[in-house]
Symmetry: C2
Subunit: 481 residues, 2 copies
């Protein structure tokens, strides 16, 4: 007969089953771990004392103490003398399924600083603004807004989005060129499907880049994926032409992960390639709204709307949990994408779309972006200053935009992947989470050891403390004369 303990709000229920297969401590540990990962136990929330919980569940106090100690050791809980045991801050739910950019080993907690990438500061998510927008939608939307909408997205959103993208990203598109979708993953999946339907047999991707993710989707669609090198000017268009690919997936505004911005001449060359071969350019504009040193570079799409599919998302600007993104497509590819979206899910949630339209239209989206851009700019400055102070000889690149930098490690005697691994492991032992670039390369052994240092979801004090703690691992050795 299971014994239950329901504490800390309605979301948490611990159930201990004495007839079950797993041991009692394992059951308790598992459930607390899951509750913390899933956010049902929030950061800094106090847990009941071991005595209370033991009594509630009919367990021995020693067992509960052991369980708390274990979860403390794993970084899920914190405890200070004379204070309740609390949930540690910053435990993030693990992503399910293939997540090529993070191994499970990298997901363990890093108490000093975690330079994870790909996630904005979740504490900056616009809770009040979103609440306002949803309220407004529910108060004013016509009944028809509760029906299945158009699969390509609610017209009102497509209209304000087209005008927003025109203004901010120099995208040349009207509402009929847009397809609203569930973030970048679905956008890319729909594009791969439409390219396959259009007879494209191979899709090139940037190397280093999101190859693993692209390959997963192209394999499912039965088309080939070919890596094309990125250098300090961005994608090597000559190599692209030689690859014979019928389409290419690029990140021109801020190459993922090198952070290189595709140069003007390369943009021209890429469009010339498209015009000459009929090749389709798929532009991932994932974090282009965050440019620090100058105005953001306009989208490629604006230069050549007939050649480019442009993909965007609110995952970086608002929050990944909203699962809203968009595709801007040339008319010849739009119908296949619209059919794909209908087949996938008949359209993204209409009320969320109307709420996003209200945010954009009211100016709240812009205001939110200005606010968070200022915060990210300050973190970027903190990172630059900390690196300058603690690791002055380290080469740093990719900081023009977005939420991450590339640190170029001293080569060492082992291969590049091994050098990255050694630094990551040594940093982890000091409580600092670092992430290598080896996995972003198509070949097994990357040319150079590099780290991707995310600062989107890392506080300024953690950035400072983290870099200080690992500076000696990063600094190239002084050459002896």
């Amino acid at each position: 007969m299971p014994v239950e303990w329901a504490g800390s709000g309605p979301g948490l229920l611990v159930t201990i089953d004495r007839g079950g297969g797993a041991g009692l401590r394992t059951q308790l540990e598992e459930q607390l771990r899951t509750a913390i990962r899933a956010g049902r136990l929030a950061a800094n929330e106090p847990l009941p004392s071991s005595r209370e919980l033991a009594r509630a569940l009919g367990l021995s106090r020693g067992l509960v103490q052991d369980c708390y100690a274990q979860l403390q050791a794993e970084g899920y809980l914190t405890s200070r003398p004379g204070s309740a045991t609390r949930v540690a801050a910053g435990v993030v739910s693990p992503h399910e399924g293939p997540a090529p950019e993070k191994s499970s080993a990298e997901r363990v907690r890093h108490p000093v600083a975690d330079f994870q990438h790909g996630v904005p500061d979740l504490g900056l998510a616009p809770r009040e603004e979103w609440a306002w927008a949803v309220q407004k939608t529910l108060r004013t939307a016509p009944n028809a807004a509760f029906d299945y909408g158009e699969a390509v997205g609610v017209r009102a959103l497509r209209e304000v989005l087209a005008s927003y993208l025109g203004r901010v990203r120099a995208v040349a598109a009207g509402p009929d060129d847009l397809i609203v979708c569930a973030g970048m993953q679905q956008a890319l999946g729909l594009v791969v499907g439409a390219l396959a339907a259009a007879g494209v047999r191979s899709l090139a991707f940037e190397d280093p880049g999101s190859g693993a993710n692209v390959t997963d989707l192209t394999a499912a669609a039965g088309i080939a994926a070919v890596p094309v090198t990125v250098d300090e000017s961005g994608l090597d268009v000559g190599a692209l032409a030689r690859s014979g690919a019928g389409a290419v997936f690029v990140t021109p505004a801020h190459q993922w992960p090198t952070g290189v911005v595709l140069t003007g001449p390369r943009r021209q060359a890429l469009i010339a390639w498209s015009r000459a071969t009929g090749g389709v350019i798929v532009e991932d504009d994932y974090d282009a709204e965050f440019r620090y040193d100058r105005d953001p570079v306009g989208s490629l799409q604006g230069l050549a709307p007939d050649c480019v599919i442009s993909l965007g998302t609110v995952s970086k600007s608002l929050a990944p949990a909203l699962r809203l993104g968009w595709i801007v497509a040339p008319p010849r590819l739009h119908p296949a994408l619209a059919r794909g979206k209908w087949r996938a899910d008949r359209g993204s949630p209409g009320l969320d779309q109307l709420a996003l339209a209200a945010l954009l239209e009211s100016g709240r989206y812009d205001r939110h972006l200005r606010r968070v851009r200022a915060e990210y700019a300050a973190r970027r400055e903190t990172l630059i200053a900390a690196l300058h102070r603690h690791a002055p000889r380290l080469a740093v690149t990719g900081l023009a935009a977005g939420f991450h930098a590339i640190l170029h490690l001293p080569p060492g005697t082992d291969d590049a992947a091994a050098v990255e691994r050694a630094v990551i492991e040594a940093a982890a032992a000091r409580g600092v989470g670092l992430y290598g670039m080896a996995k972003m390369h198509a070949q097994a052994v990357p040319p150079k050891p590099r780290l991707i240092v995310g600062f989107g979801n890392t506080s300024r004090s953690a950035i400072e403390a983290g870099i200080e703690a690992i500076a000696d691992l990063l600094n190239p050795p002084l050459r002896r004369g």
Copy 2:
């Protein structure tokens, strides 16, 4: 140079472009039609007078009057002497992409009554309850709730959903058996993909039924779709066994569209088929929460959790625009479905999931269901009474659950599809929207002429008026002795 008129709130903008290809009246008509369909001009909203609008846009007043008259003729606008021209009530946004159950001809307005099916009453959508749930989520969710969540769905929702489905639908499942997804379309797509990956080569579907939709998805996945007859006890399990299919898509609680409930012996036979052949049963539990004559029949899944994938959605109970549904799957099929969901979109929107969890947990979901079920029960009674009064000799079936009935038309001398068409056309001429069952059949000529009469989104007064207006079309002729 385009001239713009922004009226009726921020959502509506009419742009007249004198340099454009389309004529001025066409431009104005198109934009008003689209705005009404998309709900940007809400039902009963007054339009500016033709004089005002003509002045704002620099058009002649006659042109605006003609445009209003045209849209009135098409049913988009209404006008009474001495009153402003207003937006007609009940214009529903057309669904994009393949919508096999409705031809575009059937989408024209029916001023007396529209017996469309598949849509609940959008006026009953729980605006306040959803607003409450979203507010609560935004106020209380931890920061991690704004991140990418688990692809299979937010754990808190899977927990309350598993317990809800156990209580209400006798589903035997824990949170780890569930996958939250974007409504029935995505659920079926993911299932077809997982079945294909598991080596299933052919999927049986009910005839009549959702064959067109199933076939669209199976074709994309490269597996065959085979029709299996439905009789008055539900799916013909003997015919299923003879078909050699490796899986079957069924609607046991309320067969779509006949309304037949799969009998107890047939349920046993279906499970025996699954156990004997390893065939997978895919149960679509789409409107099972609406049963009127007795307690709802429990899900098939609860009888045989190892054989059955069960699919559900809030499209009928709350609103299609929420795009939330779920899959309950046996452990052997769960990983492929989870991978498919990750690949499709990395998970449904986390905040919406938490809001649904809050609705379920607070009892508001149950209270809403009780309220709308009472309303639908009253409409069903109105329909039964109206048919009894105006068409007493007509055979009516399928009324045990859900939002639609089947009317069995007198055979006539033409084939069944032609008989249906004739009645539908005659009714349309009287302002009543009817929908035939011919398209739900796998073969070109269905065995019998039948109508699917939806009452989910049709008011009681419209039901009464609509049936009265067309009764003579439905009544079988009195046999002369």
